[in-house]
């Protein structure tokens, strides 16, 4: 039987196993919305801004490792989605974003609500498609899901002109698809695995540096096994948090610009760095000239282009993190040798000295609320077991430093693009994926206002997200840089005319709380988290002058951190 393009679209998503999509309607996608209306298998979540739809889909994907799906209309719908798409691209999030397009006959005519979506998104997608014929629709959707979710994951945009959704074709959805031009590597090259194991066994001052690839590649348990087997210290990138249990004594904390002293010093003085699913981002390496001067580097990554891009590596291993870690374990098992225990003991002693600096220490205060204290208390109140999303700024760094993630897929933030406005909509996606679990969004008064309209979406779907607003009345991260590097000239970083967040939350139909005293932090959090079926917006008035420490200033090496 022939189906319309819109019906085919819906059938494809059903056959792909999609349960939830996030979207916003408009002229070009009305046929699709009509087809969605006539079925019950796929739930459509109506957001309040297309950026929110894409971030929600990201939250869904980042907390499940399943592909997130968003649907938006042509023109402004598509352009509003671009920030989310770019965000997903930077953080390798598997997404398929469907955009409506003007009818094929009008393409190129500056038609109403026409933009060149394929052109605009090209630099920030893994791949994109314009479907010109309804006969190609199902196959294109299959390819889109396949490309988005395999290899190094990423967003794929499928642009569908309106007439294609009305035209008819036979429906056929293939189970699998093969592309001659796209064959991601799975397992690592055996010779490289052996060379890597040689280095592992010979190391005297090793450190494991692991990133988002471990989380995305379901590699956490294999990583745990390897790290335990070797007794090596391990640090995670911002994206990699949860890839190794943060409460484990071998964990040195996050590395990089606002990472811990011990993690950065260990990197700097290491003789072997084992990078796994991490990409030597400039926020991690600091000044690349001064990076890991004495270390040999092993780099495991599914994306060959990430290897030796910023830093020349000694043993490149291209492959999926999980199977590569398994191969390393097997090879170690066969060799049945141990790294030099004496050397490791000395190395651990040095690390403990660095650790003794207690670099995350902050002065507790009875008068003003320290943002770190809120995150620490949040960690206790949620027993370390919540899904935490974050916006971008100081609060994001405090969250990364003070919430100890023991499990992967629990820490959802915008790392690569650093998108303010990510926190709330991504929390919606997480809550949809995990309706029974606790979801909190750590944010700042600047970031939250970038997608505050999504409070209405939360209301509509009864999402009991807990918003933890660390309100310092400043674009804190900007203020910090202005304090350090612009002699305290606080250009445009003071947040004037803030709304009354309590009333605002209430206006949206939620519970609002203002917390002004350190003594009220814990009771307020307990009260909020006890309200299982309500969104609670907690507005914590925090210390306006607090800075994120420690810090590697721009141009410095990892051993040149500013401590408090």
């Amino acid at each position: 039987m022939e189906l319309t393009g819109a019906e085919i679209f819906v059938r494809c998503l059903q056959d792909e196993g999609v349960e939830t999509i996030f979207g916003y309607p408009g002229g070009a996608v009305l046929h699709i919305y009509d087809a969605l209306y006539k079925q019950n298998e796929i739930a459509h979540v109506l957001v309040r801004h297309e950026q929110g739809a894409v971030h929600a889909a990201e939250g869904y994907a980042k907390s499940t490792n399943r592909t997130g799906v968003a649907l938006v209309t042509s023109g402004p719908g598509a352009t509003n989605a671009v920030t989310g798409i770019a965000d997903a691209y930077m953080d390798s999030v598997p997404l398929v974003v469907f955009t409506g397009q003007v009818p094929t006959a009008l393409i190129g005519n500056d038609a109403f609500q026409e933009v060149d979506t394929v052109g605009i998104t090209r630099p920030c997608v893994k791949h994109n498609f314009l479907v010109k014929d309804v006969k190609d629709l199902a196959m294109t959707i299959k390819k889109a899901f396949y490309i988005a979710s395999t290899g190094r994951p990423g967003p794929v945009v499928v642009d569908i002109p309106k007439d294609v959704t009305a035209d008819k074709a036979e429906y056929f959805y293939p189970d699998t698809v093969e592309l001659r031009s796209y064959r991601p590597t799975r397992s690592g090259h055996l010779r490289q695995i052996r060379r890597a194991v040689d280095l592992l066994l010979g190391a005297r001052k090793p450190v494991m540096y692991t990133g988002g690839g471990v989380v995305l590649g379901n590699g956490a348990s294999a990583l745990y096994e390897l790290t335990k087997r070797l007794n090596f210290p391990i640090t995670n990138t911002l994206m990699g948090l949860g890839g190794f249990p943060a409460t484990d004594p071998q964990f040195l904390g996050m590395l990089g610009m606002h990472g811990t002293y011990e993690a950065n010093m260990a990197m700097h003085y290491a003789d072997l760095v084992i990078a796994i699913g991490a990409r030597f981002d400039d926020r991690v390496t600091g000044n690349i000239e001064k990076f890991c001067p004495d270390a040999k580097i092993i780099h495991v990554d599914v994306d060959p282009a990430s290897i030796s891009k910023n830093v020349k590596v000694d043993v490149p291993i291209v492959g999926m993190v999980e199977p590569v870690l398994q191969s390393l374990l097997t090879e170690l098992e066969e060799r049945d040798e141990q790294p030099d225990a004496e050397a490791l003991k000395e190395w651990w002693a040095r690390i403990e000295d660095w650790r003794a600096h207690d670099c995350l220490h902050y002065e507790h205060n009875d008068e003003v609320i320290k943002p770190q204290f809120v995150v620490e208390t949040l960690y206790q109140v949620t027993a370390g077991d919540a899904y935490i999303t974050s916006d971008v700024g100081q609060h994001q760094m405090f969250a990364a430093q003070f919430y100890k993630f023991d499990k992967p897929l629990r820490w959802i933030n915008s790392g690569g693009l650093g998108t303010m406005g990510f926190g709330l909509p991504s929390a919606m996606g997480v809550q949809f994926a995990h309706p029974q679990d606790t979801v909190a969004c750590i944010t700042g008064e600047g970031s939250i206002q970038m997608n505050i309209q999504e409070l209405a979406t939360c209301r509509q779907y009864g999402l009991p997200i807990k918003v933890v607003n660390l309100n310092n009345r400043f674009l804190g991260m900007v203020r910090q840089w202005q304090e350090f590097f612009y002699s305290g000239r606080y250009a445009m970083s003071y947040m004037d005319s803030l709304p009354d967040f309590v009333k605002l939350a209430e206006a949206y139909g939620h519970v609002g709380m203002r917390i002004e005293k350190p003594g009220d932090v814990e009771p307020a959090l307990r009260e909020a988290f006890a309200m299982k079926d309500r969104l609670v917006f907690m507005d914590f008035l925090t210390d306006q002058q607090e800075n994120v420490y420690p810090m590697i200033p721009a141009g410095a090496g990892q051993n040149e951190m500013i401590l408090v």
Partner: protein, 163 residues
């Protein structure tokens, strides 16, 4: 160093802009580019000439390989290869210089492919150097216009870029 990269890619709308976009987004330079469908109409073949250090060219080939439309590529510079480009040059021809034009064309094995009362159009293929040398050798004949193709390349003998 100069590198000649041969690329086989899906003959899809937009494939060329993905390559061009990659070069501008990542700040690589393109010295020349030529592209056309192959004997298999589902594939296009592109020859791209670029300059960069070993590390940069390695990144370029990795990034190109990462494009979903790129099926396969070969850095011809790593193999024995043949490179050709083509030039069409229109010159002012009058009684005083026709012999010189003909003479130079013969020496370079170029062909005069269009003749009018006032102009000759000459066609020549060869390496970039040979084309440059020919244009030099034409002087003092006034050149009206020059059209050059990008380079095309093919590896010699056993090595080939095919699927």
């Amino acid at each position: 160093m100069r590198h000649i990269i041969s690329i086989l890619m899906e003959n899809e709308a937009g494939a060329l802009s993905r390559v061009a976009g990659l070069f501008s987004a990542r700040g690589y330079n393109i010295e020349s580019l030529s592209v056309a469908p192959t004997d298999d109409p589902s594939l296009s073949r592109m020859t791209l000439v670029t300059r960069g250090s070993q590390e940069i060219v390695e990144q370029i080939t990795k990034q190109l390989n990462k494009l979903i439309d790129v099926v396969k590529l070969l850095d011809l510079t790593e193999h024995k290869h043949i490179e050709r480009g083509m030039v069409l040059v229109k010159v002012q021809a009058d009684n005083s210089n026709r012999d010189h034009i003909k003479h130079m064309s013969d020496i370079f094995r170029a062909q005069i492919i269009d003749v009018t009362r006032t102009a000759y159009t000459i066609e020549l293929t060869g390496t970039g150097q040979k084309l440059d040398a020919f244009l030099d050798a034409l002087s003092p004949v006034p050149i009206i216009e020059v059209v050059r193709s990008g380079s095309m390349g093919i590896a010699s003998g056993e090595v080939s870029l095919k699927i």
